[in-house]
Structures are given as C-alpha cells and as structure tokens.
Amino acid sequence: MYAGHIAAALALKARTPRAPTWALFLAVGWLDVVHGALVIAGIERVHPDLTAYLGYRLDVVEWSHSLVAAVVWSLGAAAAFSRAGRDVAIAVGIGVFSHFALDALVHEHDLPLAPGIPFAVGLNLWGLWPIGAWGFEGALVAAAAAIYVRAARFDRTFGGHPARLCLVLAVIHISFLPALSPLRMAARFLTPGP
C-alpha cells in the first residue's frame, strides 16, 4: 500500500490542522523509511519474487513492520512531538501506527507480531484479489481526500491547493497499479532469467 498511507496523513491533517504537515506525511511512511534503511543495512531481508503483489517477498521485517515494533515506533514518534501539544503528538503517533493497520489489511501473512516471534498477520487482500485491493485502496484515498477537502474549505490554515494535491495523490495511486508498480519493474529487471 502506498497512496493509502499518504491519504491517512490527509485525514489526520483534517482532524488536527495544527499538526505540521511534513510530520504527518513522514509519520505515515515512517515504517517503510525504516524498513528501506534496514534492508539496505542487511538487517531486514527481502527477495524479488514476481508471483508476489509487490514483486518482492518480505523475509525479515520484524524491526519495522511487526505489531510490537509499530507500537514502539508510534509511541516514540508521539513522544518526539509531545512538546507540540497532546493533539499533535497523538496525531503523529496514530499516523505511524496507521501504516501497520493499513498494511495488515492487504499484506499476506508476513507482518510478525514481534521480533523473534514467527507468528505473522495479514488479511492478504493483495493475494486474494489484487485488482480489488488496488480498488479498495483507491476508495480509501478518495474518502480521505474528501475529508481533507471538506475540512480545508472551513479552515484556511491549510489545504491551499486541494485539487492539485488530490491530482498528485491520484497519479501516485495509478502509478502503483500492479502492472505499473516501480517495485515490480525493479524486481523484473533484477530477477535473473531462467
């Protein structure tokens, strides 16, 4: 999931306009930013597999994408923003945790409960109905965008260009159609031939 995470930041901004926009966008992607860094460092592991929705299988993701890790990262993010006020800290913390919650809807059973515990969760919408999962994410994006646009109409402290922002979000979502996904393209390019 990609645009769906970003859309969560829009819904949070509508609910907590005082929260810094950059912090909300960073919060909803934080688990993936950590995951990417840990994969590069060799601490978490993935391998290309074109039968997987993403084009990659997640072998070890316990420090970024386990339930316990997500809770710890969320509490850490909320603590980092505690001086900005309780509402902002809560919004940022929810932003970080929303990543795990949304991933759990679509990922196959590859999100562990905690580091070192092999039991993993994931409703596997990607595996059961790939294009439906993409459509479901699109519906989430549309709903969050509607909440954001409506709130921005009444609160002039944010949302200066709602139409353009929604267009960018739509382009991001379309570029992650299973057939167009940059991750799948990278996996196809980097998978050794038979």
């Binding site: 993936d32 990417g36 590069i40 002039r156 960018v168 940059p182 998978t191």
Partner: protein
C-alpha cells in the same frame, strides 16, 4: 543488488513526495486590501 534497489525505492517513495505535498497543503496567500493612500 535487488534488495538495495528495493530499499532505496521504498525510502524514496515516501521521502521524495513530502516537499511537493507540503507545498500543495500551504494556505493560499490572501492579497492585502489596497491601502487608504491608494484611494
């Protein structure tokens, strides 16, 4: 190599759009009303 490309794409996918999205979220500048001297 494949894992490194994956890691970079996943990080960039969230970090690169942030400045663009933040700019689009900024409130519109409200034009100041003309001053009395201009009337």
């Amino acid at each position: 190599m494949a894992a490194m490309v994956y890691g970079l794409l996943v990080m960039a996918g969230f970090l690169i759009p942030i400045p663009i999205l933040v700019r689009l979220d900024r409130p519109r500048r409200v034009q100041a009303p003309p001053s009395a001297a201009e009337h």
